[in-house]
Symmetry: none
Subunit: 223 residues, 2 copies
DNA sequence: ACTCATCAGGTTGTCTGAGGAGTTCGCCCA
DNA sequence: TGGGCGAACTCCTCAGACAACCTGATGAGT
């Protein structure tokens, strides 16, 4: 194919060459690339062109350049879209990951929660109870409650992880609750209330335990 | 704030400005940006700097440039990918998330590990000990060991999460071990051996506990 | 023997000027 | 009216110069 319809500019071609070399393992993770001038001469392109190629890979998150130090490999491959991973994964797998995150977050929340956090959590707990009979509404309120707990842990990474789980878990829960409604809404609500109490009491162990047991029960419903 | 320590080069700052302008809707989807010279003068930067900023956004998939035609907006919002989130997050935050995942994974591994898993874990444990004095080498061997444990949990989501942590954690650990080497490599190795024993014995609680205490100690070194 | 400032070399960052290559659009002429 | 043509605009590439910065070595001082 004599250079397909879309002719790649030199910079883009150069970026492809670099990425290929990284993928092949020639430049492993954390490795420093040869200098700009060296590399440009080696590839037969101008320094500006090479710099633009590097920039493109920086934008992809594959490279990172530090002035005076060099250009380093920060990822061996372009990170696969997280959504596709979760979509492919089983609900049980996702729930197990959710258990890991929420149990840890519950303990951290018990340790770090501010009065404002506590107010938000209690408001969400009340909102959880008051919702109508629509399944979606109930699930959304439940998710919102769990999120307030994780926010109280004051850890951005945990929050981001939870957020990325939401779409997948939400759909699964809606489907399940349609087929098999909760046996005892009162017990379900009590479990959540226990968690709130543990966080309010700054009881790390109890918070983690309540969170874990509640979600494990949920997981059993899917298994 | 930690981010002020990391000085952004002009090109990166320019990329941020452009992205902000796109996000705000000033340049809607499909819109053509002003020319290089115009835009560079308008932003008060050199042409090549602006070009590098554009390249970075091309790498992110937000912009697309066609020779002779112009630069066009191809996406309004960049899918906040995990790499950038983790890069921005503090090491402690990432480690707390890692604790959550690994403690859970350790318990699951104790429950589900196959003989093959156990062999892989033990082989990685031996590899961890035998490495030379190079810091990178040691960190890589350590990461490889922890990964085998998570693989033994037989949960793809957990593995993917761990993998996405690796680049960030790896660099932080290398940097730290350079300035503050391990006080007692023997104790460190013993902690890992304990974890392996617990997994071999199918002791869920002990596996989770060893994993948690080990990583918590690591977290303390960064805090 | 140890600590610290200083220096030199190499690296990325930025700007400018020049010319090449491609696209677009309107003008002119048949 | 239709088609060819070219001017004007755009991005693409290169080269050179200088600034900002990091790293490792060197040497003076303690």
């Amino acid at each position: 194919m004599a250079s397909s319809v879309q002719r790649h500019p030199l910079a883009a071609q150069t970026a492809d060459v670099l990425l290929e070399r990284i993928r092949s393992g020639e430049w492993p993770l954390g490795h420093r690339l040869p200098g700009e001038t060296t590399l440009a001469a080696w590839l037969g392109v101008g320094r500006s062109t090479l710099r633009e190629a590097v920039r493109e890979l920086v934008g992809k998150g594959v490279l990172d350049s530090r002035q005076g130090a060099g250009v380093f490999v920060t990822a061996v491959d372009v990170t696969e879209d997280w959504d596709t991973i979760l979509r492919r994964a089983s609900v049980v797998s996702v729930l197990e990951a959710r258990i890991a995150i929420e149990a840890e977050a519950a303990a951290l929340a018990a340790e770090r929660r501010t009065p404002a956090d506590l107010r938000a959590i209690r408001r969400a707990l009340a909102g959880r109870e008051g919702t109508g009979r629509a399944v979606e509404e109930h699930v959304d309120a439940d998710m919102a409650f769990h999120r307030t707990v994780i926010v109280a842990a004051h850890n951005d990474v945990l929050v981001e992880m939870f957020d990325s789980f939401v779409p997948r878990v939400r759909r699964a829960m809606v489907d399940m609750l349609r087929i098999r409604p909760l046996a005892s809404p009162e017990a379900d609500h009590a479990a959540h209330a226990d968690l709130v109490t543990a966080i309010a009491d700054r009881d790390l162990r109890a918070a983690a335990e309540f969170s874990r047991s509640h979600l494990t029960a949920l997981k059993r419903a899917f298994a």
